[in-house]
Symmetry: C2
Subunit: 395 residues, 2 copies
C-alpha cells in the first residue's frame, strides 16, 4: 500500500426534497455585508422543464440570496461558455457559483470558478501551463449521477478550437456542498442513465486496475460498489425508472466512485479516460458511451499484463467461477459479461455500435498521447492506443 | 434509504514516516502573529519509549511550533485529566491540541478542546445538559487503530465520581488532520491490537445491523471492510506483527469503520456500545474486550428479530453457506464464528473469560438505561440489557 493523503470536504446533502435546502445552504457563504449574489448555472434544458430550477430559485429567494443566470451548457461543455461565465461573474461581481445539472454543468461551473480569479486565460489550467490555486466557491444540485464531479476536484472542458477535450484536477474547485435527490433522476432518458452507469463503473475500474500490491480493503470497497451499481442498474432497466431506492443506490455510488476514497493507497490507471476523451471530442458522443466502447477493449489489450487481476475482476464483480476456467479464460469471461451488461442497458460496445468512423483512428491515437504515454497499469504509446481503438472497432 | 448529510473534513495523512509531517501540518493553523504554541497531549507511555514523541517534537521545532506537554492519559480517559488540560490551555493560552496516542488520548484531547471554550463544566456536554458548538482545533498522530476517533466526532470520557462513562458527538471536535503510520503499530501488545480489531468490527456491526431497507451499497462496503479486517487480523496474529501491509489495512479500516461513510442512508444501533460502557466503566477492562463479550450476546438475543439480516452477516462476512442451513441455523453459525475469531486473537467472549463479577449485572443493567432504552434495531430496556448480560456470562 502506498502512502496517501485523503480529504474530501464536500458536504453531501442526500435524499428526497433536498433541493429545497439549496438556498439556506448557499446563504452560509454570504459575505458580512448581507448582500449576496451568485451565478446560477444550468443547461436550460430539463432542470427548467421539470420545475427543478423554479424550486431552487424559490429556495434562494427565501434565503435572501440573489442570482444572475447563465444557461446553455452543452454536453462536453464548451470553453466559449466558460469565457462567457467568467465575464459575467466579473461584471456582476458574483462571489459563488451554484450549478444545477449534471457533470457538464458542474464542470463548466468549476472552470468559471477557476477562471474568475485568474488574470490569464483559464485554458492555461487545462493545457497544463499553469497550476490552479484558487477558485470561487462552487456548489451543486445534481441531476445526473455519472461524472462524480459533485464531490471531485476534476473538471473536463472541450476547447472548440481544435476539438481538444482536457481535464484539470484542482482541490480549490471541489464543491463546498452538493445536493443529491434521487427523485430528480426519475425522468432521465434511459440512454443518459446508462451513460452515467458506464461512467461511474469506469471511475471505479480506473482505480481498481492497479499493480499496487496489498490494497485489500479498497479492493473490497471497489468490488462491492461495482456489484451494487450493476444490480441496481438492472433494476432501473427492468421497469424501475421510478424505484427510489435503486435510483438512490446509483446516485450515491456515482459520488463514491469518484471522491477518491477508492483510490487510497493505490495508483489508478486513467488510460481509458484519456483514450475516450478523443472519441467524445471528435464525435461528440456521450462520455459514458465512449467508455463502454473503450474500456472492454482496454481490458482485452492488457489481459496478459496481470491476468490474475482481471480474473479476480471477473470472479468478484461478475460472479465468474474461477475454479472451472484457467485464469485467462476467466478474465475473458469477465470482459464478455461487462460488454453484455453494457449492451443490456442500451450502450454501444464498438465503433460500429455507435456508428463511429474508424478512419479517424490514426488521428485520434496520435492526439491521445499529446502529453506523453497514457496510463499507469501499463504505459500506452500511440501504437498501443491504436491497437485498443482497433479492438474497440470489433463488436 | 434514508435522507442523510455526509461530510468528513479530517485530512488523513497515511503511510510510512508520516509523523515527520506533524510540525509542518500543525504550523498551518498558526495565528497571524507568528507565535504559536500548542498542547501536546499523550499518555507518557509507549509514545515516549518508542521515540515517537521525540520525532514529533523535532518536527514541531523545525516548523517553529512551540508546545506545552500534558501526559498521563489512561485507558478509559478520566475527567480529572481533562480538567487539568483545560486549566493548562487557559493558563498558557494555547490555541491547538495535538494528541499523540490512541483513542483515549484523542478523546481526552477533544474533551479539553470543547471545555477550553466553554464557561461551564465540560461534563455538561457528556451529561447531555448542553450541546457542544465550538472547540479548539484538534489533530492527532495515531498509535492504536481501534476507536476511529482520529476522524470521528465522538469522544468518550469516564467521570471517576460514580464511574460514569459517557460519550459526546460534536462536529466541532472532529480532528483537522490525523497522521496514520502503520509502522507505529508494530510494537503494540497483541492484546491491544486485538482490542482494536474488536472495536473497529463493532463500529461496523453497529451500523450494519439496521432495519432500514435498501441500503445495498453501504451493506456491500460494510461487508467488504469486515472481511478485510478479519483476514488481515489473522495475518497479524499468525506471525505478521511487522507485516506493513496487514497493519496498514487494519489501520485504514479502523478509520473508515467510524468516519460515518458506512452509516450513510441508514440508522445504526449502538446498544452494544451502550451496554459495554457499563462493563468498562465498572471493571476498567479495555473497551474492545468488553465489546467481544457483549456483541455476540447482543446478536444471539436479537436473532429472532430479523433472522435474515443475521444470516446474511453469517454468509457474506463469515462465509457460512446459507444453502445448507435454515436461516436461524446460518445466523447462529455466524455468531459461533464471530466468537471463535475473537477467541483466536486472544479476546474474552464471556464474563468468565474476563473474570468479571456477574453479581454486578443488575446494577449495570439499571445504569445502562439511565437516559432511556438503548438501541435502534430493537429498543432495549433494563430487562433486555440484563438478559444480554446473562447470555454474555456463558462461554
Amino acid at each position: 500500500m502506498r502512502n496517501f493523503e485523503y480529504c474530501n470536504r464536500t458536504k453531501i446533502i442526500f435524499g428526497r426534497g433536498t433541493e429545497d435546502l439549496a438556498g439556506a445552504e448557499t446563504a452560509k457563504y454570504a459575505g458580512k455585508d448581507g448582500t449576496f449574489r451568485i451565478l446560477l448555472h444550468h443547461s436550460g434544458g430539463s432542470a427548467v422543464k421539470t420545475g427543478l430550477l423554479d424550486r431552487v430559485k424559490k429556495s434562494l429567494k427565501e434565503a435572501g440570496v440573489g442570482w444572475v443566470e447563465l444557461s446553455g451548457v452543452q454536453p462536453n461543455p464548451r470553453l466559449s461558455k466558460v469565457y462567457e461565465g467568467i465575464e459575467l461573474v466579473r461584471k456582476e461581481k458574483l462571489g459563488f457559483i451554484l450549478a444545477v445539472g449534471g457533470g457538464s454543468v458542474i464542470d463548466s461551473a468549476k472552470a468559471i470558478a477557476l477562471g474568475a480569479l485568474y488574470d490569464g486565460d483559464v485554458w492555461d489550467f487545462y493545457d497544463r501551463k499553469k497550476e490552479a490555486a484558487e477558485a470561487l466557491p462552487v456548489a451543486t444540485v445534481l441531476t445526473i449521477p455519472a461524472a462524480g464531479s459533485e464531490s471531485s476536484i476534476s473538471s473536463v472542458i472541450t476547447n472548440e478550437k481544435g476539438s481538444w477535450k482536457r481535464g484539470v484536477n484542482a482541490e480549490c474547485s471541489r464543491p463546498v456542498f452538493s445536493i443529491l435527490n434521487p427523485e430528480l433522476t426519475y425522468t432521465l432518458p434511459p440512454y443518459q442513465t446508462a451513460c452515467g452507469v458506464a461512467d461511474m463503473l469506469a471511475h471505479i475500474m480506473e482505480r481498481y486496475f492497479t499493480k499496487e500490491p496489498h490494497v485489500e480493503l479498497t479492493d473490497e470497497l471497489c468490488e462491492g460498489a461495482m456489484r451494487a451499481i450493476i444490480r441496481n442498474a438492472r433494476k432501473i432497466f427492468s421497469g424501475g425508472e421510478r424505484d427510489y431506492d435503486a435510483r438512490a443506490e446509483i446516485m450515491w455510488a456515482g459520488s463514491l466512485a469518484h471522491n477518491n476514497l477508492l483510490s487510497t493507497g493505490r495508483v489508478g490507471d486513467w488510460a481509458s479516460h484519456g483514450i475516450e476523451h478523443e472519441l467524445s471530442a471528435l464525435f461528440d458522443i456521450a462520455h459514458g458511451a465512449g467508455l463502454s466502447i473503450i474500456f472492454p477493449a482496454w481490458i482485452k489489450y492488457n489481459i496478459g499484463e496481470d491476468t490474475s487481476r482481471f480474473a479476480r475482476f471477473a470472479a468478484k464483480v461478475w460472479g465468474v467461477d474461477g475454479a472451472f476456467y484457467d485464469l485467462e479464460q476467466a478474465a475473458m469471461e469477465g470482459v464478455f459479461r461487462l460488454k453484455n451488461f453494457f449492451r443490456s442497458i442500451g450502450l454501444p460496445v464498438s465503433f460500429a455500435g455507435a456508428k463511429l468512423d474508424v478512419s479517424k483512428i490514426p488521428e485520434m491515437s496520435k492526439r491521445a498521447v499529446t502529453f506523453g504515454p497514457l496510463g499507469n497499469y501499463r504505459k500506452l504509446d500511440e501504437k498501443d492506443v491504436q491497437a485498443i481503438f482497433r479492438i474497440a472497432s470489433e463488436e
